[in-house]
């Protein structure tokens, strides 16, 4: 089975995958991108509950611990660790790619916390969302994305990404009018730097999915890089392990909110990974960047940030949101056609040759199918889920709700919409790909 040549691989992928299958997988990718936006945006809500004054390194470290727990327990619950072992046996080099992606994430996330501190969330957010433009650049340069796509799709994707960027700037300006305008150079550089790091992080993502790696396996190793890099940064900048530990203990009542922010972010990121797998970086990332819109909904409606806003600021927020929605729509309707899909196959073929990966493993993954059946769940899969749940329950017992006014009706509404998107996207993924 592994003796297939590159040409045969192209034939396997090209002829056996029907046009309908490609179309439905791309719809799945678009839906995952939209669900990712909702959950990545919601991740800001728990973090917002945390009072200011904590070190950015401590905030980022505790979020990464929540991310680590989520990234090992959710894949174990959905697919079992046996599937992870099978993927690693087929493409061991992707462990290195996953770890470097995790390191990029940790540095970028810490930079965003500095940017929020210096500029405020509303200005920093659209600046680091420039990662979509960086992602499109790498997608086109390295992975043949948008090649043979036709002028119309180029215009739709680039125009959509630009609309979302301009919409983001409008949202930022609307919010910025409500605070003291101290746009520090340092904060802007930190936010733009985070955008470059996050945009570059999609090189490993795309490489993994063109090579047949399951997104749930990839994130498990990704998070090892995240935790190692974040621990090194926290120890280095907080003054040693002892100081880090003392600071963690000192914020016992806030730990849960930061861990929860990490967990909510993981759910969004898993959908983002599937979006990148099925529609590529150039479409998946702009769609998941709609998290800014959801962040605004949480901030303005649930946390009451609209109170006291002037008429023009509210109007700018509405126009910005409409532009972002139009950008999302333009990208959603510009999925790859048969000829562009052929270019993706070529990129996958290159990866298969370069790393000596089983051709069947690569082509099955591109079709959203498993090439080998893996054994059923093991006892340690359950243990991972139990340990992660115990940590969340324990820290929840210590948590206190900060004194902050919340519109609970809106919170319930947004949570319901988020859960509905989660259920629908999970069902869609399960029915079509069995999480492959």
């Amino acid at each position: 089975m592994g003796e297939l040549t590159g040409l045969q691989l192209a034939n396997v992928a090209g002829e056996s995958v029907s046009r309908d299958r490609i179309r439905v997988l791309q719809r799945l990718g678009v839906f995952c991108g939209i669900a990712a936006g909702a959950w990545l945006g919601a991740a800001e809500a728990p973090a917002k509950l945390v009072s200011a004054g904590l070190s950015p390194f401590l905030i980022s470290f505790l979020m990464v611990v929540g991310v680590f727990l989520g990234r090992w327990s959710l894949p174990a619950a959905l697919r079992g660790t046996a599937g992870i072992r099978t993927d690693i046996r087929n493409a061991p080099h992707l462990v290195i790619w996953a770890i470097i992606a995790g390191c990029l994430w940790s540095v970028a996330n810490t930079l965003t916390i500095f940017a929020i501190r210096d500029l405020g969330l509303s200005i920093a957010f659209p600046l680091w969302n420039s990662n979509a433009l960086i992602g499109i650049l790498w997608g086109v340069l390295f992975f043949h994305e948008l090649k043979d796509a036709g002028r119309g799709k180029w215009i739709a994707v680039l125009g959509g990404a630009l609309l979302m960027f301009v919409g983001g700037i409008l949202l930022a300006r609307a919010s910025a009018r409500q605070m003291s305008p101290q746009a520090a150079t340092r904060g802007m550089v930190a936010a733009l730097g985070a955008g470059v790091l996050w945009g570059t992080m999609y090189i490993p993502y795309r490489k993994a999915y063109l090579s047949g790696m399951n997104p749930l396996s990839f994130v498990s190793f990704f998070t090892v890089g995240e935790l190692c890099m974040m621990t090194a940064l926290a120890v280095r900048y907080l003054g040693g392990f002892k100081e880090l530990w003392l600071q963690i203990v000192a914020v016992g009542h806030l730990q849960f909110w930061l861990l929860a922010a990490g967990l909510v972010w993981v759910i969004g990121d898993i959908f983002q990974q599937y979006a990148v797998k099925y529609i590529g970086v150039s479409r998946g990332i702009p769609l998941s960047n709609s998290n800014q819109l959801w962040g605004l909904l949480w901030g303005a409606l649930a946390f009451g940030e609209f109170r006291g806003w002037g008429h023009s600021a509210v109007a700018a927020a509405i126009y910005g949101s409409i532009l972002m929605a139009l950008g999302m729509a333009a990208i959603s309707f510009s999925t790859a056609g048969k000829s562009e899909y052929g270019q993706w196959r070529e990129a996958a073929h290159r990866e298969q040759r370069r790393y000596g990966i089983d051709a069947q493993f690569v082509s099955s993954a591109m079709e959203g199918r498993a090439s080998q059946t893996t054994s059923s769940s093991r006892w340690w899969d359950g243990l991972l889920v139990v340990v992660a749940t115990a940590v969340f329950v324990w820290t929840a017992g210590l948590a206190r709700l900060p004194a902050i006014a919340l519109n609970w009706q809106v919170v319930c509404g947004l949570v319901t919409v988020g859960l509905a998107l989660l259920a629908a996207a999970t069902l869609f993924l399960w029915k079509l790909t069995r999480f492959n």
């Binding site: 089975m1 592994g2 046996r89 290195i96 930079l111 500095f114 340092r186 550089v189 790091l197 570059t200």
Partner: protein, 41 residues
């Protein structure tokens, strides 16, 4: 190839990655990010 055997030798994985020109893009960006972080902190 037997599906139970690894498609690529784990010992060669690092060498293959280091030979991949794409690898140096995220590596350089990561190093630049660490320098930037030192500057903003």
């Amino acid at each position: 190839m037997n599906p139970s055997e690894p498609a690529a030798d784990e010992r060669n994985a690092l060498v293959l990655v280091l030979r991949d020109a794409h690898f140096w893009v995220p590596t350089i960006v990561l190093l630049a990010g660490l320098v930037l972080l030192r500057w903003v902190s």
